[in-house]
Point group: C2
């Protein structure tokens, strides 16, 4: 199946092309000349991924793949959630953003957190698959690692004794929230729909 | 995995128990003593299936399986859609409801239609799978068949030369919108999540 991935980010495009190389032919928004800004007005990851799919589908009338991801911290009532990328304002650097988040947390206790990813394949308005998965971890007050992006340096994975930003691309592609969701969607496509 | 199915309907419970017999242990709302009415305020099948899941999950804190289904008629701008079960008012019989629908349609043309089913498995707020599938057909002005329910007698399947209400339970469980969505969800569960 030929699909458009709702991203202008080349790294994300390559990552998805690699994951779905056996099951999907993936184009980017640049490939199809889609330039509109899409407002992510949803209150959940699933809503936001579907808002992107619908908007693009209505314009190009071909299947769309879109994800929406974020960090949910238990002691912050699962925030920043859908606001993760905008937390503290759009113009912050990743470092400023996660440092701001740390100031909201009591340093004397443990903070369970999850990275969550909703991945939607919108074949047409009636045929839609949504897979939302998570990876569990803890917030560390000692940021570490230079791989990845966003909150990765403060997301600590106890089982690996590493932050998400210390994982290699290969490791991250095996255990991350986006990897888990992609794996399941890929399985659906491989056994045929 | 042990899940609650968002239904009080015994036939639906048996149907789902049969489909998922290898992958899920299914309880009904009656089994767990859940009696609240859930308002289906969503504008899409997916939203409504997730509203049911969330409400029940928050009460019982165990995985929930919920579906929302309906009929979408192309020439009616894909209505009645999420309002299918309430079209014309809650107190109509199935026959009164589909007869009312027929009065809205021009008898001199063909009306493409789809039965759509969104099936959601809500394991927890971060792990959610939604599969929405359809079966395509046409509206017939000559209702036929006594199996099934709802709009089945006016939903004609050209390939089978039968209405949905003329199918045996076995046939319907092979080709219906709910069967397709269930089949995919079951595959996900069978290869392990």
């Amino acid at each position: 199946m030929r699909v458009v991935l709702a991203t202008k980010n080349k790294h994300k495009l390559l990552e998805f092309k690699n994951i779905f190389k056996e099951s999907l032919e993936i184009l980017s928004l640049l490939d199809i000349g889609f330039n509109e800004e899409i407002e992510e007005t949803g209150t959940t990851f699933i809503e936001n991924s579907l808002i992107k799919c619908k908007k693009i589908y209505e314009s190009v009338k071909m299947p769309v793949l879109a994800d929406d991801s974020g960090l949910c911290v238990e002691s912050l009532n699962y925030e920043p959630g859908v606001l993760s990328a905008r937390f503290g304002g759009k113009n912050l650097t990743d470092k400023e953003r996660y440092e701001l988040l740390l100031t909201k947390l009591d340093r004397n206790r443990k903070h369970n957190a999850s990275f969550v990813c909703a991945l939607s394949l919108y074949i047409n308005p009636n045929r839609i698959y949504v897979i939302q998965e998570e990876v569990k971890g803890e917030i560390t007050f000692e940021p570490k690692g230079t791989n990845g992006f966003g909150y990765d340096p403060i997301f600590y994975l106890p089982e690996l004794n590493k932050t998400m930003a210390e994982l290699s691309a290969e490791e991250k592609n095996r255990i991350s929230h986006r990897a888990k969701a992609s794996y399941i969607l890929n399985k659906i496509l491989q056994f045929g729909i």
